[in-house]
Symmetry: C2
Subunit: 106 residues, 2 copies
């Protein structure tokens, strides 16, 4: 991000990912999934902690999935979600500002 001014297409794709993270419920969902034992969680584990309805949680999970941040799979009765680490790593790397680039050190 510091080296190149970030082209239009790249910015569009990245902004879609960040948009998925721009809701407090989705952030908490992601951290619940990531911190869940085995690295994955069933939808039924994700409804309890929130005050919103089940369809709303389902909607948020869909947003996370379509942003490429989580994967999902049905196994029998339940649907499991897990985090896709490459996606988060991509965003994390983008936000790393080399200390030498900070204004204070210029």
């Amino acid at each position: 991000m510091v080296r190149e001014p970030l082209g239009e297409e790249a910015a569009a794709e990245l902004s879609r990912m960040f948009k998925a993270l721009s809701d407090p419920i989705r952030l908490r969902l992601l951290s619940l999934i990531a911190s869940h034992e085995g690295g994955e969680a069933c939808v039924c584990d994700l409804i309890g902690p929130f005050d919103v309805s089940q369809p709303t949680i389902s909607h948020h999970l869909k947003v996370l999935r379509e942003a490429g941040l989580v994967g999902s799979e049905r196994r029998g009765t339940w649907v499991y979600y897990w985090v896709l680490p490459e996606a988060l790593a991509k965003l994390s790397a983008l936000l790393e500002i080399p200390a030498a680039s900070a204004k204070a050190l210029a």
Copy 2:
């Protein structure tokens, strides 16, 4: 994010920052500022690269500023913006998923 399930307040604050990054123009603005010589840029440097009006750019800069991602200061005729590295570092660290936590390695 992997260790603790991310409390409501923390999620709310972080989601505000991610929301500021959820627009392609704001992402490009941020990278333009970060990659600009000296680590800061004048608003007049930030208008040219975009197809939107100047008030719209000003609006986006305000969003970035209120999210705590950039600082700004008027010096004479021009207003300068710079990135606040601590804020980006905070988000970057949040998104770092230890490899051992990935589902594939569980």
